[in-house]
Symmetry: C2
Subunit: 404 residues, 2 copies
């Protein structure tokens, strides 16, 4: 028998009926002769509710204690799914992340998986059991419960498929990967396959379907990831190595478009032009695990520079502390925090072989009177920050122009 790792997200686990639906899907694959390892997220919006509870007590709950709280969400899910499978006549057993030995390191709330023990899983599979594992969580070297950050259950599932050397199937509330989010652009087309590189760019840009670290991991171990609907029985999207499966001639310049509304932009004016000051500032941010995304810096004028960067909105309170400390040290610096921004990105392996994509994209925005507040690019991606209010206009124009 071969092992399959499946992952079901919060929406798929949102109600008793949906959990029963998930159980039936697991049983179907099981009856086809597979050994099943299933990773689940917390039910519905329960993680959001737990976060709300925590923040009703404190603006800055200790992250160790927040992890302790959040981990209960998946623990509820795994036991509910296991009970459902047992009630349907299948022997199932649930494990928390710490229990099964998902070892992590790094900051609470943003931990990274170091390794996963397979003994308990393999023993249970050999006993004929369906194994249910809590996604999103693990245990660190102090025996503290840790969480992997938003969408971490994807990472848990892919990591498990790597250590168990088996396929990974991610079931979610969308039918697969689209070039553009269909909620933003209804005529959006579904992709049959997409490369790790493209997917990685889209995920890290907030395309939302998959957690970036999960794709990184899949790419590193070359573990193909199948993403499909947990509700509809329609073909999903296979994320795999290499170029897209189209021949270069047909290849589109742009495979996907992503929007990220969860970032803010900080502008610092009149910063002393001294590499040590800049380096120290970004090092302070890194120490707090604040993921700076885009950075731009102007040329020095009269010994001063302007720096802009974007960062996740969720890190605002930590970020503010560092900014205030910085301004206390350098009182001449002027600061502006803009939360009314969206990051619009276009991604495609085709960019490597086709020129003029950037020019076409910029012209498109100009034609639609959409100002670009910041720009960054990679080999297969162009991102720009635009005012939030112009987001929908920008998505429509881009998706139309690049036939997504």
């Amino acid at each position: 028998m071969s092992i399959i790792v499946q992952k079901y997200g919060g929406t798929s686990m949102g109600t008793i009926d949906r959990i029963k639906n998930v159980a039936r899907r697991i049983i179907k694959k099981r009856e086809e002769g597979n050994q099943m390892v299933v990773v689940v997220s917390a039910m519905g919006k329960s993680t959001d509710e737990l976060i709300k509870m925590a923040y009703s007590i404190s603006d800055a709950p200790p992250r160790r204690e927040l992890d302790m709280l959040l981990a209960t969400g998946e623990q509820v899910s795994i036991s509910m799914l296991s009970m459902t499978l047992n009630a349907m006549g299948y022997d199932a057993i649930s494990f928390t992340g710490p229990q099964v030995g998902v070892h992590t390191m790094g900051h609470h709330g943003k931990s990274r998986i170091m390794d996963i023990e397979t003994k308990k899983i393999e023993d249970a599979l050999n006993d004929g059991k369906i194994v249910i594992i809590a996604g999103f969580q693990g245990v660190n070297e102090n025996d503290d419960i840790t969480t992997l950050g938003r969408g971490g259950s994807d990472t848990s599932a892919v990591a498990l498929s790597c250590v168990l050397e088996c396929p990974c199937e991610i079931y979610t509330d969308v039918d697969g990967i689209y070039g553009v989010d269909p909620r933003l652009y209804p005529p959006a087309k579904k992709l049959n396959t997409v490369s790790f590189d493209e997917m990685l760019e889209m995920a890290s840009l907030g395309a939302g379907v998959m957690h970036a670290r999960a794709i990184e991991l899949g790419s590193k171990y070359n573990a193909e990831i199948y993403v499909a609907s947990s509700i509809h029985d329609v073909p999903g999207t296979l994320i795999k190595e290499g170029d897209s499966n189209m021949s270069p001639m047909e290849q589109q310049a742009i495979t996907g478009l992503a929007i990220d509304n969860d970032e803010l932009m900080v502008s610092l004016k009149n910063v002393p032009f001294d590499m040590n000051i800049t380096a120290q500032f970004f090092s302070d941010l890194a120490k707090k695990s604040i993921n700076i995304d885009m950075i731009s810096q102007t040329a020095p004028v009269y010994g001063a520079i302007n720096i802009s960067f974007s960062a996740p909105i969720e890190d605002l309170s930590e970020l503010r502390k560092i900014l205030y400390d910085f301004m206390e040290k350098y009182p001449q610096v002027e600061m502006d925090i803009n939360k009314e921004i969206s990051k619009l990105s276009v991604v495609g392996i085709g960019m490597r072989s086709q020129s003029g994509v950037a020019a076409k994209f910029f012209q498109l925005l100009a034609d639609n009177n959409i100002p670009m507040l910041m720009i960054t690019t990679s080999e297969i991606r162009i991102s720009c920050v635009i005012p939030s209010e112009l987001r929908d206009t920008a998505v429509m124009a881009t998706a139309d122009a690049f036939d997504l």
Copy 2:
């Protein structure tokens, strides 16, 4: 500095405001120079809600998975209380039962504490932290999460005070121990002290304030337990070894009255008179950890006997299976399950030295036309099963007659 173990129940932890109140009480004792170890139950009715969720999936959820689910209730509480203490400026750290090393054995849902590791607790206390520990839960030899059964948080707290060799304070939604539940008999008197023996009888009879096993443990290790209100600042009740603190002359025959509505009575008629059959039957019940309480058996007539016994209503589904198996083997047996019963018990160390208590009690019930369906007695207790509908009449009459 000396250590104090405090325990706060679900009602005391029911809302954010109540958790803040609990935190302030902990801080007060801390500021008086004590090292604080705090055991908490799940918030409000959350355990009931989790049980309801489980039973919405299955009539008989696997107990291992049910424990996995229920343990989340306390995990939410400990993190919330720890966050609250941290927000108030006190360094606090929370531990689940498995994390801190509460080792248990026995059946899921009814596990017993074997030992508790103290290293993590002592390390955290020495670091100046307030230590918050999830009650009701532990971990067994398979590394599975276990629960101790209803009210198990009391047991967790007393067990901790035993291993840490320190006082134990149980804070609850009542002001202390009363001779009769004030909800049943408003003029009820609060006791300043009560002996372990009396308390043990009352607890095992469903007096509700304290978990029987907690008192057993306190008695075994002679660890005094102080029970008081988590809301009102009024003196509570000290449970300690020995006779009540009144001199023998003043000593009342009856210290307390307890009502248990959570039992059912099973009557089996026409059971073959064979000790092996009876022994096998009760051994089957024991294997499923069904706590049989009262048992009565008639003398044999024509080679058949009648057996009655009472058992917890929560064990009904397990109980039914065993009864049906039994009747399949012995089709001549007639069975009746009566859920409309209450168990009324009177308890008092005074019974040891005063005679005629039973006679007075039985006469009282007879005068009030209350039939006794079953009777059992111990050295300091008389219990009888009565029809539920006559419960209030019986409580009033007894409390009045014995001046409780």
